[in-house]
Amino acid sequence: MDFNYSPEDEAFRKEVREWLEENLPQEWRRDRYMTMADRDEWVQVQLAWQKKRYEKGWLAPTWPKEYGGGGLTMMQTVILDEEFTRANAPQAGVGMGLSLIGPTILAVGTEEQKRHYIPRILSAEDIWCQGFSEPNAGSDLASLQCKAVVDGDDYVINGQKTWSTGAHRANMCFLLVRTDPNAVPKHRGITYLLVDMRNTPGIEVRPLKQITGSAEFNEIFFDNVRVPRSNVLGQENRGWYVAMATLGYERSSTSQGIIFKRSLEELTKLAAKKMRNGRPAIEDPSIRELLAQCAAEIQVVVLNGYRLLTNRIKGQVPGPEAQMTKVFWSEMNERMANLALEILGPEATLQDDDEDIRRWQMTFLSVKASTISMGTSEIIRNIIGERILGLPR
């Protein structure tokens, strides 16, 4: 048990901080996203940041060098992530190339697919979205119905996808289709396809407005869309297992803890600033107790991030505690957002241009997605009960 970093790690950390000082402009620091009305403007910042990191060789350090990645050890990658998060650096790039489909292709793709797609992800030439959920296939994803019928060298696709984040900006889609309508169990009839959205007729993207007021996710309609059979990732009817691999890729949890620690720091400062019954909210014992509870829960997120990191460094599979992380942080985040609005008081729901209000109002609204997406809290508790504790279905 050791919570210290080695001298070499600390030297690298210093190097990263210095590079950030010189290369990350103040206007690009993530805090400002919360107040920027124009999301599309921010997308340009993210793309520009991706380019800078790529040029430095710090974009996809754990990816193989032969496809354009590489350069750092696992520990250095974590330190890089930590320091970028501390500096409020923007997310590098847009879409799910770096986070989800890139690692999936590297894990199960053919040599040709790796050589073709990976460099295009790194250069931001391709921007990816996910086509998994359907109106009638949410938690029960395996029941998806979007049909793919073989016709010569192509599949012909008809159906609809929903909740596709960023599809309105993407040119590529990783898509789950039903190639065997009679499969038993039904997940054995699913194929994972890589689809070019720009150059393929019949695809329509319709933005869906969210409770936050913006339209970040979309429906995608497929009307007799032809996709080459060679665009299968993995094998026909074996797409479910590839999808499970995709769903397993999450960003490093060590940086997540840092994001929350920053949020708590901001929240504590807010409590010192805002009044409550005539005194600063930070003096109220109830507010103090709720802040302390957030602090402990955030520390749990940080520590479980270290456990995940230790497993990764040792080349081990994540432990069972990895199952609880998403449900844990999303519910903690919900509590923290509610606390923030308590601290802000009745002005918290006004639509004014106050920076604090906008920031925490946005958190309060968006946080309701996090207990639902990537596995609802209820599904995850079922998974914990069944797969970890062995309870029957």
């Binding site: 504590t268 103090r288 107790e289 302390a292 230790t310 209820e378 508790r381 079922n382």
Partner: protein, 384 residues
């Protein structure tokens, strides 16, 4: 940066688990809790000493293993799982670390090997009243005389004092601008004239005794650490003790989770195991989520205290508050999952439920400890 147990610690864990599974059945636990006058088994104590558990943290020159607090935490967790009763924490964790950190060479030589061999039982007498355990609450006095000091006062809630050979008494020898100044620690022989012990038993079989020091004479050689500067020593030993209580809670929570899951698989109602019902399934899942929160917090706190990290006081308070709540939630849900039989004396669930409550209320409930964390948070933004 590494978060996990090393190979040696994994072995310790397995050895401890097997040992208790073999030697401490629940029937014996019940006897020791409520019927046995000592409240623990001296035979088991000897065997644990032979396994080297008492001296794990002591240097080899004091018959120890030269290990660290993480090693001990692993064993403490298994003790909690097994519902071990008795003076292990007051002796090994409080007494052992206090003497190791602040004792003179003579004191260490006299005490540490005796603890390691299982031949010395210790405890600590801190609270002059049950409602507080801070320095300002220390009213027991120690007045200097020709040969040493004379201690006067009555301490409450002294763990397992009825079987202790030595009692570390927290007394006031003077005063200063802060209540922490003027506190001195004394290693008192429990058989000294004037030491009167009255046993009180908790509903989980702990003995939290009144110890009246009626003009008890001690020598200068019995002072532990510098005169008037005993509070920091006490604080550190108490930090170790609180983390040990957390480790005990983690072990208990793990066991309750396993028992509840097992029951949910076996108990049939409405023609199906009750574990198929989401309400029951989710209660068990929430136990898992809690266990995976308190275990890392406890081990982090153990590391922080043992390495003297700046975050140690906050870590201890975070761990204690969370363990308090988790153990309470888990044991309540444990009874709930078991339904009617969970409410019977015969079923073992209440042993954990009661132990959880005693643990929760001693040395700071959750509100107390969260206030400490909040103070630290508030300070950090004030200086930022």
């Amino acid at each position: 940066m590494e978060f996990g147990l090393n190979e040696q610690q994994e072995m310790l864990k397995k050895t401890a688990r097997d040992f208790f599974q073999d030697k401490l059945p629940r029937t014996l636990v019940r006897t020791l809790m409520w019927e046995d006058p000592k409240g623990y088994s001296p035979e088991l104590w000897k065997e644990m000493a032979e396994l080297g558990w008492m001296g794990i943290m002591f240097p080899e020159e004091y018959e120890g293993f030269g290990g660290d607090f993480i090693d001990l935490t692993v064993i403490l967790e298994e003790m909690g799982r097994a519902l071990l009763t008795g003076p292990f924490i007051p002796t090994v964790v409080f007494g052992g670390t206090a003497v190791l950190n602040a004792g003179t060479a003579e004191q260490k030589k006299a005490i540490l090997p005796a603890i390691a061999s299982g031949n010395l039982i210790m405890t600590f007498a801190l609270q002059d009243s049950a409602d507080r355990f801070d320095a300002a609450g220390v009213t027991t006095s120690a007045t200097a005389d020709a040969d040493g000091y004379v201690i006067k006062g009555t301490k409450r809630l002294v763990p397992e004092a009825h079987v202790a050979d030595k009692i570390i008494c927290v007394a006031r020898t003077g005063s200063g601008s802060k209540p922490e100044e003027g506190i001195t620690l004394f290693i008192v022989d429990a058989k000294s004239p004037g030491v009167n012990i009255k046993e009180h038993i908790t509903f989980d079989g702990k003995r939290l005794c009144d110890v009246n020091f009626e003009s008890v004479k001690v020598s200068k050689a019995d002072v532990l650490g510098p005169v008037g500067q005993g509070w920091p020593i006490l604080e550190k030993a108490l930090q170790y003790t609180i983390v040990a209580m957390c480790a005990d809670a983690v072990g208990g929570c793990q066991m309750v989770m396993e028992m509840s899951s097992q029951y949910a698989k076996e108990r049939i109602q409405f023609d199906r195991p009750i574990g198929t019902f989401q309400a029951v399934k989710h209660k068990c899942a929430n136990m898992f989520i809690d266990v995976e929160a308190i275990r890392p917090l406890t081990y982090w706190a153990a590391w922080a205290v043992d390495t003297g990290a700046a975050e140690a006081p906050v870590a201890v308070s975070m761990a204690k508050a969370y363990c308090n709540d988790a153990y309470r939630r888990i044991t309540a849900d444990g009874i709930q999952v078991h339904g009617g039989i969970g409410f019977t004396w015969e079923h073992d669930m209440h042993l954990f439920h009661k132990r959880a409550k005693t643990m929760e209320l001693n040395y700071g409930d959750s509100h107390y400890h969260r206030a400490i964390v909040a103070d630290d948070l508030a300070r950090s933004v004030a200086t930022a």
